[in-house]
Subunit: 279 residues, 2 copies
């Protein structure tokens, strides 16, 4: 079978070259293919806090998602080169790419050294983390030295360092452009900020994103299924396109963390429904 | 917490009367509330073929869906009045309404009698079934006698009686308007018909709907997650609105039937994403 999604995955040329168009294939599919989005859907490793790698990959296959931000509980910081190779091979078997590592909390310059060393050994060009303010100049040296981009994660009203996107941006706007944001739209909303407007404002420095919705725009807001919260996801998707975001929207699902598959699946479906309906 | 979906469920007046608007509540929510869709999302009982009622209701609660088309494996035809009352009470505890019964295959006029008797005892005003062609005049007498609407289900290219929507409509178009269709959009597509166009054509006689997508527009097409098939769901939702359909879109999920929750959740999310994004 060749479905509309296959066309998106394989690319039009590949499909046209390799198969005969099925009867069900409408002209409109070709038009849609031309509008394939620059951004990709992924899953933030933290969503799988209570699951081993194989269980996590099985869930990703179930929902047909192919990008994972790697957390250390799946690939420990002290992994050997062989362990890292085996990890990537396992992901590849599942059709998954580990595109970044983190979030990693760094309390010292040594922690930052270790994080960059880890990212380099893992072979990714994007590191998500939470550096202390006084370490930002040191961080700037490291992104230059390694040519690895660093996305700083915002964590809502309780976060003394980076409660929201604006607080990250104000610190890094004059620094090396390889320092940017891992924009957590849910924590941003919990800090009573506007995730749609902030995506538009800071998109050039947003390298990664924790895709989620929350139940309230206050510190008591909790992660919920993507279509059930207070953030207007259709408006957010439109802004993803308008701003030209071309990174991963990594679903971070923090509800029912010991039994998250249904909520992940509903959220993935909702995101794709919004994307398909607004193309 | 008061989310956007609460406003939809409770109705604006109820929410305004009963709670203070949260900080997160945007003016746009009020506009959206005005555009609440006439159609409702439900689940066709057949999706839960391998599950007891309680397990099925738990899945419905998980995905926040509140309308169920009742199948006999959850409420046997020979149920007593007390058993029927207990059934409805159990649904009510889960916030679910059993809005119709079926599909019921009827091979004889006695089968039709039994089906109407069952629908009346269950207390629903809509019966989904598959009558023989020669029984249609008898069926017409029964809908008049009971004032219960009857939706005929189409079942794709293998179905000698009703392969597609047009084949149902041609038989019933001059009959009592209480005879109509349970439009199975997936089987319609498997018969290489156009579900979007057919929804538009026959909407006035469509009383119920099996919401689904399929992997191909041929007899080999299989039910798949709602966003992964060959039917253009955004176009379908737009036609639901254009045609003024005000019944239930009852998800019939026939993939992974022994472990359907993730696929149901993804499909529910996809449908809601499309609906929210096209309002």
């Amino acid at each position: 079978m060749t479905t509309r999604r296959d066309f998106v995955k394989k690319g039009m040329a590949g499909v046209l070259a390799s198969s005969i168009l099925p009867l069900s294939y409408d002209k409109t599919d070709l038009l849609k293919e031309k509008k394939e989005d620059a951004f990709k859907l992924g899953i933030a490793g933290y969503s799988f806090l209570h699951f081993k790698l194989d269980e996590s990959l099985a869930m990703m296959q179930k929902v047909d998602v192919h990008y994972l931000c790697i957390k250390d509980f799946h690939l420990p910081y002290k992994s050997t080169a062989d362990e890292i190779s085996a990890f990537h091979a396992r992901l590849k078997e599942s059709g998954v790419t580990g595109y970044a590592v983190g979030p990693i909390y760094t309390k010292t310059q040594q922690d930052i050294d270790n994080a960059f060393d880890y990212a380099k050994r893992v072979g990714v060009k994007l590191l998500i983390g939470i550096p202390n303010h006084e370490d930002l100049p040191y961080l700037e040296k490291k992104v230059k030295e390694y040519d690895i981009r660093f996305g700083i994660h915002n964590h809502g009203p309780e976060d003394k360092l980076y409660p929201n996107a604006a607080s990250v941006y104000s610190k890094i706007k004059d620094m090396d452009p390889r320092i940017g944001l891992c924009f957590d739209m849910g924590h941003n909303k919990r800090d009573n900020q506007d995730p749609v407007a902030d995506l538009g404002k800071y998109s050039k420095r947003i390298f990664d994103m924790h895709l989620k919705n929350v139940s309230a725009a206050t510190k008591d807001g909790k992660t919920c299924e993507l279509g059930r919260g207070v953030i207007d996801i259709p408006a957010f998707v439109k802004m993803l396109r308008k701003s030209g975001y071309n990174g991963v929207c990594s679903l971070e699902y923090e509800k029912d963390m010991k039994d998250p598959l249904a909520g992940i699946a509903e959220s993935v479906g909702y995101f794709r429904g919004v994307c398909d309906a607004t193309k």
